[in-house]
Symmetry: C2
Subunit: 131 residues, 2 copies
């Protein structure tokens, strides 16, 4: 995806619902790191800069992943699903992906006793984001 | 998750938007197979039966994955993300996950020449679904 232009591939992506969900996967071990959402602008900037941008549904703004924490996501590969309405990014994750300090947002696993944390933290969110 | 009751963990999941996106991952090689959506009933049945159920947004109905094709998904593990509004399933996929005949729905990769198919089909959808 080094030299592709967003305008050349834009029509392949179904933005009918405005936002497309994006699955973010570690390119080395295939661990799922998070799911976030992109609008057209976020996808365009992601492809141009090879670093992940999303649309924050809670803050209603464009958001460069890692802009505050430094935990950026370098985009290695980008895939599109059969319906053209879901994107998969394979990334090189700096630090950890989750705002809680975990490497992945999916650190809770369903057990016979309910959801249990199965991953320890890789950074302290109080230090990274401030109190 | 052998003996967990849906009613015991229901309050951990944020159904404020009614549907939660579900990332489906092959439990053996960690390949991402698809993204689908669950409402409460779909999640309850998935946990009870250890086979994946979704809510079809296009058909507006509950849908047991593989009910027509036979390509069911046996649920090995279920994870919840930090915000409680996205689910990750690790599954044993029968046949292929995609209605196009590919093993994964993410069979198109962004290259310098746009999106290119990078996976061949594992079944013939005309045979599995009929013409």
């Amino acid at each position: 995806m080094n030299n592709v232009e967003f305008t050349d591939i834009k029509d392949k992506i179904d933005f009918e619902r405005e936002l497309v969900p994006v699955v973010v996967q570690d390119f080395e071990d295939n661990e799922i790191l998070m799911v976030a959402y992109m609008n057209e602008e976020a996808l365009e900037k992601t492809i141009e800069e090879k670093t992940a941008y999303y649309w924050s549904r809670s803050r209603q703004k464009l958001w460069k992943k890692g802009e505050e924490s430094g935990n950026t996501q370098k985009v290695i590969d980008l895939y599109l699903d059969c319906d053209g309405d879901t994107v998969l990014l394979k990334v090189k994750q700096k630090g950890g992906a989750c705002h809680t300090g975990h490497y992945t947002c999916f650190y809770r696993k369903l057990t016979d006793d309910g959801f249990k944390e199965v991953e320890s933290k890789v950074f302290d969110p109080n230090i990274v984001y401030g109190d």
